[in-house]
């Protein structure tokens, strides 16, 4: 069980860490200063959540590794984040669409985890769900504003949705780890979250006058680590540079 629990905690932590890093790439270059600050706040929230999940993961693993070791010392094949969150920022619309697709699932997932039998998980999720709820409010409003905006913003948001939709489904595909945690009352069945999350997708995308692609196809391999996209390696090269060049450096 502790191997499954470790795997699950890495999934939660890596989602937050990788998306947090992606969003932080906007710092200083967002289209307007208000969005710049808001995106930096979101990135910091996510990196804070990653710290909580990976701290617990390191304890469960019990091999003397710290959260920092997990974040900065693993390579691509040991990361367990969804393929969605490692996708490049693209234009601002693509970043916001990725955020919305993630936030809608994240809120439902954390909401369920707040009821976990595992007290630590329930506590982390209870704290994180408040942040995620605000992230979702903000990304939903922006998706609606841009989707139902000008011809150009609508076109870009539809293009972002068409591009990212095949990465949305991975979150709802259960595997043996999910089954073991469901059995133990620790985590929800990912497939069961789909109805609620899709209701959010349809409500917001509808208001945004965007058309959800009519396909169930979903790229897989992020949360199992079997097949990350080429983008994760590039992200880690930047994120982990300092610890790779100067192992154990502190300041």
């Amino acid at each position: 069980m502790s191997a499954d629990l470790f795997e699950f905690l890495c999934r939660m932590g890596d989602n937050a860490l990788v998306l947090g890093h992606r969003v932080s790439e906007w710092c200083g270059v967002a289209p307007v200063i208000e969005e710049d600050i808001a995106l930096a706040n979101t990135a910091l929230d996510l990196i804070g959540q990653a710290t909580l999940w990976l701290n617990y993961a390191a304890e469960v693993e019990g091999k003397g590794r710290s959260a920092d070791d997990l974040a900065m010392g693993r390579d691509v094949w040991d990361f367990r984040n969804l393929l969605l969150v490692e996708q490049p920022n693209g234009d601002f619309g693509q970043t916001i669409m990725r955020q919305f697709l993630f936030d809608a699932w994240h809120v439902d997932c954390l909401g369920a985890l707040a009821q976990s039998n595992d007290r630590r998980i329930a506590e982390i999720a209870g704290k994180a769900v408040k942040e995620a709820t605000y992230h979702l409010e903000r990304s939903s409003d922006t998706v609606i504003g841009l989707g139902d905006g000008t011809d150009e913003s609508h076109r870009r948001m539809q293009a972002a949705l068409d591009l990212l939709w095949p990465y949305a489904g991975e979150a709802f595909a259960p595997d043996a780890v999910d089954a073991a945690l469901l059995e133990a009352g620790i985590a929800p069945d990912p497939a069961r979250l789909q109805a609620t999350t899709f209701a959010t997708y349809d409500r917001v995308l509808g208001a945004a006058t965007l058309i959800r692609p009519d396909t169930e196809f979903a790229h897989r391999g992020g949360k199992t680590g079997a097949r990350h996209s080429e983008h994760l390696g590039h992200l880690l090269t930047t994120m982990q540079w300092l610890q790779r060049a100067y192992p154990g450096a502190t300041w």
């Binding site: 289209p31 307007v32 200063i33 208000e34 600050i37 808001a38 706040n41 605000y134 409010e137 903000r138 409003d141 504003g145």
Partner: protein
């Protein structure tokens, strides 16, 4: 792009404050986003428990040109200041 968004004046009520205070301004496409932007720009360090956003164009302001007739007449009316009373010690801080 920011030039197309109206300017909003932001007022925050702090944890211990009695009234909303002006903290600054920002740009936003509408009132809802003005509140959200204010949350992100002005309450990052736990500064507030309530936000007001007012579109700057909606604020009626006095003109600096009128400061003579508006403010100077009160300069000479010292009897309007309650400074001619002795405050009993046990009244505490006023």
């Amino acid at each position: 792009m920011s030039g197309e968004w109206p300017l909003w004046e932001i007022f925050i009520r702090g944890q211990h404050g009695m009234s909303h205070r002006h903290v600054g301004s920002l740009h936003a496409p509408d009132a809802e986003m003005a509140i959200k932007n204010a949350r992100d720009v002005y309450t990052r360090r736990n500064e507030g428990i309530s936000i007001w956003a007012v579109e700057a164009a909606q604020i009626a302001a006095s003109s600096p040109d009128e400061k003579g007739p508006l403010y100077e007449p009160s300069e000479s009316k010292i009897y309007r200041h309650p400074s001619f009373f002795d405050i009993p010690d046990d009244a505490g801080a006023m």
